[in-house]
């Protein structure tokens, strides 16, 4: 398909070089965020199941599918075909059959620069933009990212930003809510609000793994006296790497590469932020559940693994686990 024929709104399934999309005067839409922000999110999952997605299949993928169908005006999707999961592959196959343009993007497993560059060039070609044009989009996006990262720093250094706020600010960096300048104002407002608050004195937690479907996990933990001061994957969406070329940030970005590489980032942040425990979120039916055993062997602080499927609210079983975990951490 010619670049000119691409829809104005472009779906993304996880963080990809959105500089390219913005440079082509199109709007990236993180389909995960789109799905969760819809009032009919549960029905999105049902729609996917009605179309034939199995019940024992990742709820995120089903939600993305349903949301995309219901949205209607997203005619093209940049799909991460390496560095995410095989479930995404299956989703892409289905979308193609249903007439959606799929632009594949592969993160090379070994973070190879040459391979990465060639992926980037293919993506620029698909959007019909030159690197010079892309560079013009970089400054503004980096400015917004640095605001989000400042908010992240306030979270653990000053303790005045809640776990949920930290999560929302960072997770939205994947697409900048489709409007970087308005998103920047939102971040500034959040920081303004935080200034008036007392510092957190309770348990300090880290959250590792894909973002939760049930974001009330943050509020519930705070009710129990524990705050998430590190959202591992969400923070990566803000590309916390300075002093490198704009595109190199995507080579440092940990999520699509090996778990060992992610662990280095986790270990550094656990120490730097003085975290007392880790919540490891795993999605039902996700291969990342297996990474849990590596995390447990390496991280050096207590780990609680919580597995959730499609519920947008915390269930009693998860609450029980969180409550007991926090009660142990309070005594340690």
């Amino acid at each position: 398909m010619k670049p000119g024929a691409l829809s104005r709104r472009i779906g993304i399934t996880t963080t990809v070089p959105i500089e390219v999309i913005y440079a082509s005067r199109r709007i990236p839409v993180d389909l995960n965020n789109l799905f969760l922000s819809r009032e009919d999110a549960p029905e999105c999952i049902e729609e996917a199941e009605a179309a034939g997605f199995p019940r024992n299949f990742c709820a995120w993928i089903k939600g993305i599918y349903g949301a995309l169908k219901r949205e209607g005006d997203i005619g093209a999707v940049v799909a991460v075909t390496q560095g995410d999961c095989s479930n995404t592959h299956a989703l892409m196959e289905v979308l193609q059959v249903e007439g959606i343009t799929v632009i594949p993007f592969a993160y090379p497993y070994d973070r190879d620069r040459v391979l990465f560059r060639s992926q980037l060039e293919r993506m620029m070609e698909a959007f019909g933009v030159e690197e010079e044009e892309v560079r013009s989009a970089v400054d503004e996006l980096d400015r917004v990212r640095s605001l989000a990262l400042r908010l992240d720093e306030i979270t653990w250094k000053e303790g005045s930003v809640t776990g949920r706020e930290n999560h929302l600010a960072l997770v939205s960096c994947s697409d900048m809510e489709g409007d970087p300048s308005s998103f920047a104002r939102k971040l500034e407002g959040m920081m303004e609000q935080a200034r008036e608050r007392e510092p957190w004195r309770g348990v300090r937690l880290g959250y590792v793994g894909v973002p939760p479907l049930a974001s009330e996990i943050y509020d519930y933990l705070e009710e129990l006296g524990a705050r998430v001061m590190y959202n591992e994957v969400q923070r990566q969406f803000a590309l916390p790497y300075e002093g490198v070329e704009w595109w190199e940030k995507y080579l440092f970005y940990t999520y699509p590469y090996s778990f060992q590489y992610r662990l280095q980032d986790i270990a550094t942040e656990v120490k730097r932020r003085g975290l007392q425990g880790i919540i490891h979120y795993v999605q039902s039916f996700c291969f990342r559940q297996v990474e849990d055993l590596i995390l447990r062997r390496s991280v050096g602080v207590p780990v609680l693994t919580v597995e959730m499927d499609r519920g947008l609210r915390l269930d009693a079983r998860t609450r029980m686990r969180l409550e007991n975990f926090v009660s142990i951490l309070k005594r340690l």
């Binding site: 207590p302 597995e307 079983r317 029980m320 686990r321 409550e323 007991n324 142990i328 005594r331």
Partner: protein
């Protein structure tokens, strides 16, 4: 307040257990079906529910401590205690043991607690599926038409259940019955399946086999489960009496400070 009566209520997923402690004396007041308990003893209130103390014979001014999945439902001057904390205290109160590995197999899930110096220092819980819980045994017993007690008499044989799911397990049993396998063999297969599912939890903390393994929760009544656990652990697990009241007892036991 030494001597004043304290009531402990464990609002479990399947049964609600009520215990009263007055000084050193402990009374096991009863076990109620959970759905029935909500219907009979919990009045709707602004923040969930209010416990109808008078119907349960609990004096208005008495201290009440609740635990279990439904603890938030029994409002009205009721203190709550995290479930695993309650189990730890209950084990200490009923057995006097302070260092142990506690395996609790409840109505809808199972947990392992590492207890040191009378306190919980670590725990792990099973994954989302209810296949290693009392609910699994109940469902399977119903399918093969046995009481839970009868199901608990069989553990020998080689019949393997391939399904680890409480729902698919049912389908598999129906198939096995249709193939003509004796019910006793199927029952033994069910018991072995649940212990097999529990074992990864136990082995997570089982580096020291000298540690006492304590088995709590209603599933501990099953002779087959106890025997199969003993086979794997190398000796009999210690079962507090009564095993399903452990968390309720823990509710009326002070913490180890």
């Amino acid at each position: 307040m030494e001597g004043a009566a304290v009531y402990g209520i464990d609002v479990g997923s399947r049964w609600v257990k009520v215990v009263c402690r007055e000084g050193n004396e402990r009374k096991f007041l009863g076990r109620y079906d959970t759905a029935e308990f909500y219907r009979l003893f919990v009045a709707p209130g602004p923040d969930g529910g209010v416990l109808k103390r008078e119907l349960l014979g609990i004096p208005r001014e008495a201290e009440v401590v609740a635990t279990g999945y439904g603890k938030a439902r029994v409002g009205g001057a009721v203190r709550v205690l995290p479930e695993l904390e309650a189990i730890t205290r209950g084990v200490r109160a009923l057995t006097g043991i302070k260092d142990a590995l506690v395996l609790d197999v409840g109505g809808q899930d199972s947990k392992i607690i590492l207890m040191e110096g009378g306190r919980m220092v670590e725990f792990a819980a099973n994954d989302r599926c209810a296949a290693s819980s009392g609910r699994f045994l109940e469902n399977m017993a119903r399918v093969i038409g046995m009481s839970l007690e009868e199901l608990g008499r069989y553990w020998k044989g080689s019949l393997q259940l391939s399904s680890t799911c409480a729902v698919f397990g049912e389908t598999e049993l129906i198939g096995l019955m249709a193939e003509g396998h004796p019910l006793e063999e199927i029952a033994a297969g069910v018991n072995r399946a649940i212990v097999q599912r529990l074992w990864p939890l136990v082995t997570r903390f089982a580096s020291d086999r000298r540690r006492e393994l304590v088995l709590t929760g209603g599933v501990a009544y099953s002779l087959a489960i106890r025997t199969l656990i003993a086979e794997r652990w190398g000796r009999e697990p210690l079962v507090p009496s009564p095993p399903d009241y452990v968390a309720a007892v823990g509710c009326c036991t002070p913490g180890e400070e």
